[in-house]
Amino acid sequence: MKELKLMKGNEALAEAAIRMGCDAYFGYPITPQSEVLEYLSREATKRTGMVVLQAESEVASINMVYGAAGTGKKVFTSSSSPGISLMQEGISYIACAELPCLLVNVNRGGPGLGTIQPGQGDYFQSVKGGGHGDYKLIVLAPSTVQEMSDFVQEGFDLAFKYRNPVLILADGALGQMMEKVELSPQKERTFEDLGWTTIGRRKGEDSKIVTSLNLKSEEMEKINIHLQKKYKEIEKNEVKYELIGCEDADYIFVAFGLVARLCTKAAELAREKGMKVGVIRPITLFPFPTDIIREYASKIKGFMDVEMNAGQMIEDVRLSVEGRAPVEFYGRMGGIVPTPEEILVALEEKLIGGAK
């Protein structure tokens, strides 16, 4: 029987982690994601023996994740924008050492201390690397509380498949709002010796090392080439997106996360007024759904990219479109969530009007 529950996004995510048999969580309080740490502190250890530890900082959290992930255990952390900024050095190390783990950013409005209201201003940081050096995270962008829950298992699966950190990029609204969520059944916590992990030397073998260091340039370049090859492989295999009413569309919104839902409503309002409008919702932000956007670029009159930032994903949309169609932008910043009505006005004024 289906197990349905009305839950906050942050809590649904935490519950999903417990149920999928996650081994450890290290985190630090920050609004609007503190419920993850609170929920896990309350529920996790007594139910599955999962380790839950409040660290002294996000810097410590991510390094605890680094240590634990090097053993092959399923570990994760969560934070919100300023905290994620603090973690970037550690994330770069994790990416280079190729450790599987899950990261969650419940994005708030920035820059600086910014606001505790929702934002998408961390897109660049999430998909372009974020920390130092050439690396990529696999980035999943949920748009519902259900996806906040589902992407935990999916994220861990991808992390272990590619030995790569996976980031769930949500926003303050998704973290805080309550929706119906179907919960997965409780799984046993299992542990597999992955061979490369630091779990104490294996009998008859030399030591294993988890490191991101190589002082020989030729060797370090080889590591980089290997990473880039892996990212290509991820781009080939793991692109996910949702198409909403695109078949007959003249105009298409491109939006991720919560904003995609607002654009879906705006597209409905547009159709009521006789305009054929669809939505492309990238679910994976890296790898980005370049091909499908390019495919539509030669079929439609224009794209409207909508984000809760000053225009970040639009760069990837434009790289996908390669000048085949106009790409306009509408965004709100500072923690403001745009309404479907204002999105529609922007569509009419900036794109449809402009394309006449």
Binding site: D23, A24, F26, V51, L53, A55, E56, S57, V59, A60, S61, N63, M64, V65, Y66, G67, A68, A69, G70, T71, K73, V75, E89, G90, Y93, A97, T198, I199, G200, R201, R202, K203, D206, S207, K208, I209, V210, T211, S212, L213
Partner: protein, 264 residues
């Protein structure tokens, strides 16, 4: 003295070996450490203890940024490199998911007492059941001799070229004294490796600490006052003399916290 000379002079014959180097817990390779540096000795006694306790397959080490970040090239035990200052957080992550394994960090003074001060204090304060080995040679070795949090007052470095001015940059930070104040610290001691007798004492301290870890007693913290001949611009012998005459008077050796409360 070259390796060939040692062989030619017959110094390396079996009969002269008092205690063979660790056969299992250390690789038979030359280290990158400078001649006379204390790291080699510290590595060796750590490996000896690990081997003597029979825990080579049950221990995980964490070596953060600093000269000893490459310790994993010498110690044949599972090891994780860590970002500068973050060793004890990394060790916390490992120990929390593998509580039955032995876990230790091996950190320098810049790492543990400057950039990693927060992690150090909070890890000890949580009483993480790990061993922290703190090599204090009063200088940043790997980056070429800059002033460390533990550089002595008046001591010259590339960033304190006229000697450490405490009015300008503060006094050396005695981290070991600080952590000894924390209720969760189980065993805190300051040792050295500049003389054979001290090497033996340090080895004993490491063994004690790992035995406490086996019993789940909490954080053990061993400072090893050491040298840096290259960056101190001294010969190995001069540097050991400096340890004896300048470092140790400022960083006195002995136990700062022991399980029975006695201070040595």
């Amino acid at each position: 003295m070259s390796e060939k000379m040692i062989k030619d002079e017959g110094l390396c014959v079996k009969e002269n070996i008092v205690y063979a180097p660790p056969q299992d817990a250390m690789y038979d390779v030359s280290t990158h450490y400078c001649p006379g540096c204390g790291h080699g000795v510290a590595h060796r006694i750590l490996a000896e203890v690990i081997e003597e306790m029979g825990i080579t397959n049950d221990i995980i080490g964490v070596a953060p940024v600093g000269c000893s970040v490459l310790a994993y090239n010498y110690l044949n035990i599972d090891m994780t490199e860590a970002a500068h200052g973050r060793a004890t957080a990394v060790a916390t992550g490992i120990k929390r998911v593998l509580p039955d394994k032995y876990v230790f960090t091996y950190q320098g003074d810049g790492d543990l007492a400057a950039i990693g001060t927060g992690e150090t204090i909070h890890t000890v304060n949580r009483g993480e059941n790990i061993l922290i080995i703190f090599i204090n040679n009063g200088i940043y070795g790997m980056t070429g001799g800059q002033m460390a949090p533990t550089t002595l007052p008046g001591m010259k470095s590339t960033t304190s070229p006229f000697g450490r001015d405490v009015a300008h940059v503060g006094n050396p930070l005695k981290m070991t004294d600080l952590v000894a104040q924390l209720p969760s610290a189980y065993y805190v001691t300051r040792q050295s490796v500049h003389k054979p007798a001290n090497v033996r004492k340090t080895k004993k301290a490491i063994q004690k600490a790992l035995e406490y870890q086996k019993e789940g007693k909490g954080t053990c913290f061993i400072e090893i006052v050491s040298n840096c001949p290259s960056n101190w611009k001294m010969t190995p012998i001069e540097s050991n003399k400096f340890v004896e005459e300048s470092m140790i008077p400022f960083y006195p050796l002995g136990d700062l916290k022991t399980p029975n409360g006695k201070e040595g």
